[in-house]
Symmetry: none
Subunit: 194 residues, 4 copies
C-alpha cells in the first residue's frame, strides 16, 4: 500500500527536481556549502521559493540529494580480497579517494554543523551519509570474523567506526593529507588479525 492517499490537485513537475538539483550543484561548486543560500538556488533554477521549500525544506536535505544523488550511496560493497589486510587496503584507498573529491570536506563538515542543531536532521544525515560508509567498513570486519581472522566477539561496529572515523578526521580535521596515514591505519587494524 505505497500510495494510500491518491494525489489531489496538480501534480508536481518532475523536471523541476532536476533543475533545482543542477542549480544546487552549480552553486555548491561556485560558493561552497556555507555560501549556498536557498534564495540563490531558487533564483538560479528559475523556480519559486515555495516550490523549492516544498520539495526540500532544509538546506542539508537539498544538498545531500544534489551531491550524493540519494540512492547512490547505499554501501556499494567492496570486493573480497580474501584477507582482512587486503580488504583494509582497498577500503582505505576508496575512502581516501572520496575525501579527495574537491569540496567534499567542506560539504561534509558544513552539513554536519547544519544538522547538529536539529536532531531530526542529524539522524537523517547519519542514516543517509554515515551509515553507508560504516556498513561498508563493517562488512570487512564481519568477513574477517567469518574467515576466523578475528574472534567471534569482535565489536564489528566499533571497528567500522574507528576505520571510517579516523579517515574522516584525518581529512576533515587535520588537513594536509600525508601519504603514510592511510597505510598506518590499514596496518594498525590488520594487526588485530595476528
Amino acid at each position: 500500500m505505497p500510495n494510500d492517499t491518491p494525489p489531489r490537485g496538480r501534480p508536481r513537475i518532475a523536471e523541476l527536481d532536476e533543475r533545482i538539483l543542477d542549480a544546487t550543484r552549480a552553486l555548491l561548486a561556485e560558493h561552497g556549502y556555507l555560501g549556498l543560500s536557498m534564495e540563490a538556488v531558487a533564483k538560479r533554477a528559475g523556480v519559486g521559493k515555495q516550490t523549492l521549500y516544498r520539495r526540500w525544506p532544509r538546506r542539508p536535505l537539498l544538498v545531500y540529494q544534489a551531491y550524493f544523488g540519494g540512492a547512490a550511496r547505499t554501501g556499494a560493497e567492496l570486493p573480497d580480497t580474501g584477507t582482512l589486510a587486503g580488504d583494509l587496503q582497498l577500503a582505505t584507498a576508496y575512502q581516501d579517494h572520496v575525501f579527495k573529491q574537491p569540496g567534499t570536506v567542506e560539504l561534509i563538515s558544513g552539513m554536519v554543523a547544519d544538522c547538529l542543531v536539529e536532531p531530526d536532521l542529524m539522524a537523517a544525515l547519519r542514516e543517509n551519509m554515515m551509515r553507508p560508509d560504516l556498513e561498508v567498513a563493517a562488512v570487512i570486519f564481519a568477513r574477517a570474523v567469518s574467515r576466523g581472522e578475528l574472534p567471534g566477539d569482535t565489536d564489528i561496529h566499533a571497528m567500522a567506526e574507528i576505520m571510517a572515523g579516523a579517515m574522516f578526521a584525518h581529512h576533515v580535521l587535520y588537513g594536509e593529507d600525508r601519504p603514510g596515514f592511510r597505510q598506518a591505519l590499514a596496518t594498525t587494524l590488520a594487526k588485530l588479525a595476528d
Copy 2:
C-alpha cells in the same frame, strides 16, 4: 624583545575582554554556536560592535578564546601508567570526558564548518584546537616506542591521529555514545604492542 613598538593611543580596557568572553559563554550556553551572533555578543557585553570586531574579527576566534581560554589547551601531559595499554585507557577516558561536556560537540563542528571557508582560520583552529590533542596522544605512543613496546619506525603522528580522530568522529559524527567503543579503540591500539 617582545614589545618593540610601544603602544600608542588609548590602551584597550583589559576588563572588556572578560566582559565580552563572559557574554560569549553565556550566549553559547543559551543558543549554541550557530545561534551565536556577533551582534548579540556586543549587546550582551554592553560594548560597541567596533570594539568587539577590533578584538575578534571572526566568530570562531572569539568562540575559541571564550571556550578554551587560549593557553588552557596546551596539551597537559597525561600521567605515565607504565604500559601502552594503560596509557590508552587513560587517554581515551579523558577524551570521552571532554566530548561529553554539553555543547562541545556542536561547538567543535560549528567551528570547523566556520573555519573551513577561510584557510587562515582553519590553520589557526588546527594549531590551537587539534594540535594539543594530537600532541597528548603522540606522547603516549612516543613513550611506548622508548619503552620498546612499539618498533622504532612507528608513525607516531599517524597513530595519534587515529586515536584522537576516531574519538572525535565517534562523538561528533556517529552520535549516541556506546560504552564499548572507547574500550574497543583502546584495545585495538594496544594490540600493536603484542
Copy 3:
C-alpha cells in the same frame, strides 16, 4: 496604456504605505529632517527595512511623499484679483504662510542638501517641490501679460523665480522674518507694471 507590464508576484500591501508615511511624519515632527533615520521609520511603522527601502530607497523621497503627499502640491492656482499688485500680495502672503509652518524651513534645506549629492534626486525634487511653486508664481505674471500690465516679452519664468526664490531665501537663509520684507517684494515686482 498606463499599465503595460502586469504586476507579477505578491502585490504590495497598500496600507503599509500609509503606515510608513504616518511613522515618517511622526518622527519628522519629533526629531526633524536630519534626525530622521530609515532605521527608525521602519521600526516605528512596524515594517521590515527591506519593505521600506523597496518603496522609498532614499530618505528625501520618503520625506517628500510624507510631507507633501505627492499630488497635493500640483500648483493650486491662486484666485485672480484683477491686478498684478493684488495677485502679488496674495501670492507672497501664501508663501509666507507656507514657510512659517514649523519645520518647513529645516525640512526643505535638509532635503535640498540630501538631494544635491545625487543629481537624480535633485531633479526629482525640483520637479516635485520647486516646480509647482514656480508655476503658481508664473501664472501671476502670465495673467499680467495678458491683461497688458506687462510687456509681451516679459521673462515669465525668471520673474517667478525671483518671487519664489526671494521668499525662500528670506525665510530659510536670512531667518527672523521682518514684516516689511513681504511688502517690499510685492511692491518691487508690482513696480514692473508702471
Copy 4:
C-alpha cells in the same frame, strides 16, 4: 587689554591649522560637503581627533574657515558705476561668478542644512556668510538713495535680500542657470529707479 590671561601649558602648533584646513579642502574637493567627515579630516591631516575638535568643534565651522578663509569674505565693496542699473549689472555678474565656482552650491546648502539644526551655528553662518553678501548688495541701494534714484524711505535691507536671495535660489534651488535670469533680475530691480 587684549591678552589678560597669559597662555598656560603647551602652546598650539599653528602649523596644524593649515594642515587641517588643507585636508578639509582636499576632501571637500573629492567628496563634497556631505561626504566630508570629521573623522576623515583628522586622518588626512595626520592629526588627532581631539586636536581637530578643539579647534573646530563643528563641521560647518571648519568648512567655512577652509573654504572662505575667515576674513576673506568681508564684503569687498563693488566699484560705483554711477547708476543703480550699472551697479546691479556688476553685482549680479559677480554673484553669478561666485555661485559658478564648482562645489559652491552644494557647500552652501550643506552648510545651511547642518546649521539649521543648531541655532547658534545658523547665527554664526549668517553673520559670516550671508551678511557680507547682503551688505555688498545694500551698499548698491544705499548709493541709489543718496543719488536720488530711489526714495529715502526705501527698505534697503529688503532690497538687498531680494537681490542676493533670488540669485541664491536661482543657482542652488532651481539649477540649470539660464543666461536671461541675471539680466531679468537686474532689470527688474533697476525699474525701481524709474
